[in-house]
């Protein structure tokens, strides 16, 4: 994104998050530049999902500042937050679909809520479903999908608005190795298109596989703090 090289897509500055009287994350500082690729790892319960939720504003930091596209997230009202999320593609750990709608409508949901004319977006939608290998499952309901298909549908929904950043929480959590490689390739392809990608995962094999294909920084949450992971990965 020419001219935006100096701007951070997401920036955390001395962020802490407390819950139920205890501090879950503390003194987090990180800057995600446009077009960068980051992995976020750490043991289960270390706060990876919380970190992502802070990035897309589902949770508010109890100390420090979270900025998205140079805007303090705390300063946003609910409508402004909605507009902000249209610039973010979020792949939730449990995917979260509207079970009464077919897969194609779920994937197109960001277009629907932003008031875009779906008639004009049909070709893009079909191409995207084909890209994630779900063309033949377009009319299925989400509960009929396998774990891998759900993850791919969630990824397609996350990128249909061509967001500036993709935040994925364990996108390969419920799929076999082959499927996780396929999903990884999709995310790498997005990154090559200039999108910033942040993947939270505890799957170190996936990180190793990615590092051979893309220049990725690996962050680790340990003892509530964020560290840059070393060569052990």
């Amino acid at each position: 994104m020419p001219g935006n090289e100096g701007l951070a897509v997401i920036e955390l500055e001395q962020v802490a998050y407390s819950y139920g009287g205890g501090e879950l994350l503390s003194d987090l500082s990180i800057r995600l530049s446009p077009g960068s690729f980051h992995f976020l790892t750490g043991p289960s319960g270390s706060g990876k999902t919380t970190f992502l939720k802070l990035c897309y504003g589902e949770l508010q930091a109890t100390a420090g500042q979270v900025r998205a596209f140079e805007t303090d997230m705390r300063a946003l009202d609910r409508d402004q937050m909605a507009m902000m999320r249209r610039r973010m593609g979020i792949v939730h750990q449990d995917c979260r679909f509207l079970d009464h709608l077919p897969v194609a409508d779920n994937v197109a949901l960001p277009l629907t809520v932003s008031g875009r004319d779906l008639g004009q977006e049909n070709a893009n939608l079909a191409e995207l479903l084909s890209w994630v290998g779900l063309s033949d499952r377009a009319d299925a309901r989400p509960p009929e999908l396998s774990g891998g298909e759900r993850q791919r549908a969630a990824l397609a929904r996350a990128v249909i608005m061509s967001p500036d950043v993709v935040l994925a929480d364990e996108p390969t959590g419920n799929v076999d190795w082959d499927m996780s490689q396929r999903l990884l390739q999709l995310l790498i392809e997005l990154n090559k298109m200039g999108k910033t990608v942040l993947i939270a995962t505890h799957d170190l094999a996936l990180i190793r596989a990615a590092k051979s294909q893309v220049q990725a920084r690996v962050l680790r949450i340990s003892n509530r703090r964020l560290q840059l992971a070393g060569a052990d990965l």
Partner: protein, 297 residues
């Protein structure tokens, strides 16, 4: 303004994001239908009471009766004197003495047609019709007392006022009932909307995750409840009007109850009930949606 246009025109795609929910849909349809049905009857009652109050007030206020009780040999003279006084009284349009046959007809319902009234010491009745300016009842009484000692003026005030008051109270009660029905309908639809919103909190989370604004989410629910309330109220009004049509038609013998219904242009009033019901649903659901979305943020 855009929100109102969106509400009316709708967006088929946006409508689908909220899943159809069973019991809240049925509750809204039933509540709005039942309330519209009751509103038709409350409206019919109120309008009929209004007509009655108006008629009694108009008819009775324009007429009065003078009763002359005098010995038989003075009766004709006192009647003539009373008519002379009435002719000279400003505000009296006309006055005439009732004939013996007319007086007999008035008593017939109580004593039967065969009563020999000519053998009884009957008072003479004089019917007085006032003009639009009206007359001074107190002044007329004083003049009659001076010039026609056997005459008593009855301007019907004693028994007209409570009747008119009763009819007006009935009309007021009808309107209060309509307001209460509207309030009860709003409360029921609010409960249904809150239940639907609470049951769909995961849908709301997903919509927010993909960038839906609160107005978009609220409108999806508001439209659904407004349309349901309109449909339910339409059915209720149709059934209510059928019920009113089945009531006996107005007649003198039936009195007030047979006049319960709509007349002339007032038949158009029930047409307003479905849009008003939809408006109540729109406001109630809108308020419930705003509250719930604020709480879920």
């Amino acid at each position: 303004m855009n929100a109102i246009i969106n509400l009316i025109v709708g967006d088929a795609q946006a409508d689908r994001v909220v899943p159809p929910t069973g019991f809240t849909a049925r509750l809204t349809l039933f509540a709005s239908g039942a309330m519209a049905f009751l509103t038709v009857f409350a409206l019919a009652l109120s309008l009929a009471s209004g007509r009655l109050a108006h008629r009694w007030a108009e008819e009775l206020a324009r007429s009065a009766t003078i009763r002359i009780s005098a010995p038989a040999d003075q009766m004709a003279a006192q009647t003539e004197a009373a008519l002379t006084v009435l002719k000279q009284t400003p505000g009296v349009a006309s006055a005439r003495a009732l004939s013996a046959a007319e007086q007999a007809a008035l008593l017939a319902p109580w004593f039967g047609p065969d009563l020999p009234l000519d053998q009884l010491p009957m008072p003479q009745l004089v019917e007085v019709i006032e003009d639009s300016t009206g007359y001074d009842a107190q002044g007329l009484r004083l003049r009659l007392a001076a010039e026609v000692p056997g005459a008593t003026l009855d301007d019907h005030t004693r028994w007209r006022k409570p009747l008119v008051d009763a009819a007006r109270s009935l009309r007021r009660l009808g309107w209060i009932s309509i307001l209460l029905i509207g309030g009860a309908m709003a409360a029921m639809i609010t409960l249904a909307a809150q239940a639907a919103l609470a049951a769909n909190h995961q849908v709301i989370e997903v919509l927010r995750l993909v960038g839906a604004r609160d107005n978009y989410i609220a409108l999806a629910f508001v439209r659904r409840f407004t349309i349901r309330a309109f449909l339910g109220a339409t059915v209720g009004v149709v059934l209510g009007l059928a019920g009113v049509l089945l009531l006996p038609s107005a007649s003198d013998e039936g009195g007030f109850l047979t006049g319960l219904g709509f007349q002339g242009a007032t038949w158009l009033w029930p047409v307003l009930i479905p849009p008003l019901g939809a408006l109540v649903a729109l406001l109630a659901t809108g308020a419930a949606a705003r509250r719930t979305l604020r709480r879920l943020s």
